[in-house]
């Protein structure tokens, strides 16, 4: 069974009287351990699709099974639980808490699943080590460089041992060198920990790190290419 099975996902927004079809009957399967890029121009529906897969948003129509669970049937709090246990997010703008130390940012997801303080700290230290930020635990996020901040965000995404990471333009605010470092980290996490990575990007050289590329245009998938090994 696929980790992600989306069938005929449709998302329609109403802007005043105008109906905007952000997604028109999109279907896709993503297996455990895949490293997938979603590409497309802005407005193509790729972010909407990612938000739905990431359980931040619900489709207008269609079915979405995540790890065997029917997401459409879940309420707000149940979705929050799914995000907490199954999904890690990495955003273009990092989305870390300001005036808060790196380690506390990484601990954040564990605040919401009842983990004891001691274990939270241990796991957060471990996650920071994985992303190569040992020794910077107590730095405030605004004292860190962009690349370091994004690595804190990645540590936060993996700390609950979620099987999937959704990364929305994770290198959009980073220079080329740092982008490469961050992408190497994703490759490593995918290869060593078998974490499924879904990357949204419009840069071909970033998409090149992934094994499979979905292309969106006007709310539909126009191509689905898997790289030959």
């Amino acid at each position: 069974m696929a980790l992600i099975a989306a069938r005929d996902i449709t998302k329609t927004y109403h802007l005043g009287d105008v109906e905007v079809n952000a997604l028109r009957s999109v279907s896709a399967n993503i297996e455990r351990g895949e490293f997938l890029s979603i590409m497309g121009q802005s407005g193509s529906g790729k972010s909407t699709f990612m938000n739905i897969l990431g359980c931040l948003d619900k489709p207008t129509a269609g079915s979405y099974m995540l790890d065997g669970m029917d997401i459409a049937k879940l309420d707000r709090d149940e979705l929050a639980d799914i995000r907490n246990r199954k999904i890690g997010f990495v955003f273009q703008g990092f989305n870390l808490l300001s005036r808060t130390s790196a380690i506390e940012n990484v601990e954040l997801p564990m605040l919401y699943n009842g983990m004891p303080a001691k274990e939270r700290r241990l796991r957060a230290m471990e996650a920071l080590k994985v992303v190569g930020l040992s020794g910077r635990e107590n730095h405030y996020t605004n004292q860190l460089s962009g690349g370091q901040q994004q690595r804190v965000a990645i540590a936060r995404a993996i700390v609950n041992q979620a099987p999937i990471i959704f990364a929305d333009e994770p290198t959009g605010n980073l220079d080329t060198r740092t982008s490469a470092e961050v992408m190497e980290l994703f490759v490593k996490l995918n290869a060593e920990s078998n974490i499924t990575i879904v990357l949204v990007t419009h840069e071909p050289d970033i998409a090149a790190y992934s094994k499979r590329v979905l292309r969106f245009l006007d709310g539909v998938i126009i191509s689905d290419e898997t790289k030959a090994l």
């Binding site: 707000r76 709090d77 929050a80 995000r83 989305n95 870390l96 997801p109 009842g114 936060r156």
Partner: protein
Amino acid sequence: MINVPSTIKIALRALRVNKMRSMLTMLGIIIGVGAVITMLAVGTGAQRRISEQISSIGSNLIIILPGSTTAGGVRMGAGTQPTLSLGDAEAIQKECPAVMHVGPVLNGVGQVVYGSQNWSTAVVGTTPAMLNVRDWGLSGGRPFTSDEVRSGAKVCLVGQTVVDNLFGSVNPIGQSIRIKKVPFTIIGILEPKGQSPNGQDQDDTIYVPVTTAQRQLFGTTFPGMVRIIMIKAKDAGQLYAAEKQITELLRQRHRIGPRQDNDFTVRNLTQTLQAAEQSSKVMTLLLGAIASVSLLVGGIGIMNIMLVSVTERTREIGIRMAVGARTWDIRLQFLIEALIMSLIGGIFGIIIGISGSELLSMFAGWPTIVSTLSVVSAFSFSGIVGIFFGFYPAYKASLLDPIEALRYE
């Protein structure tokens, strides 16, 4: 599942980040709680003073004064002519069911001599029941008995002021003193009672059997004459009944016709004071209510700041939601923040309120009493205000759409 200690930590941090703003918001609560406590302390102080006065003269008290008599069409003032007698007192005791104790009084001023010391004091001739009427105990010795009253024994009870002025360190019980040159033996000492409602020293007195006072000290214009009769009714509810029964009985005994005025006056001492107590109670409530308004205003301040805070931290809320915060996690975070502000404000308010009351009694001389109840209720009220006014902002925060919150700049 909700992690309360961490939530408290988050809230404290958020408050620290905006120190000035948090402090100003708390100030509203501090002033509110402080005002409630101070106002209640002022009111309670006034109330206590009045009830102390009530209990010092004795509770459920009725006093009968000899009345205005009419001599040839000229009406005399109350008390000008003695009309009351021991017989009246005994009859009231026997025939008025609403009456508990009766204490007849024949009093005057007398010079008292002990050894080389002398002192002028109020000498009260009465019966043992008087001590019950006035709720007055002895700090030593024994009261005089009915037998001693009947036989006109020369025994007396002395008040503390008299003891202080005549005896110094000598134990007065058993000593002999001379009241208006008549020798008396001291058999008991009256408990110190302090000032009466009109500022008289109630301890500056000597009690002697009423018969002795009649025969040896003051004389009477008719046999058995007393100046006033003090009465204790069975309870506060029976005061009015007792008054009525006494008036009827005395009119009968004094043979007063239906169209004639009473030759005595029945006055209810407690009633006036109770009315004063009642009005001071109302006053306390009123002061407290007015002060509570400022606490309410403080609460609105909290709501205002929390709403600003929710808007400012929309992105933070989005991040928390993205990593798995549920509705109540977010709600509780903001609720606890509001609650902490109001409770910290409450604690400082208590300090301000207590010191404010102290200052008032020190500098303005008002009696203030800070009751535990007022502190506890002002503190809990501040907590309730925090929850009440924190709820709407917290509710608003919890309903944000995570995607929009994450995009918020």
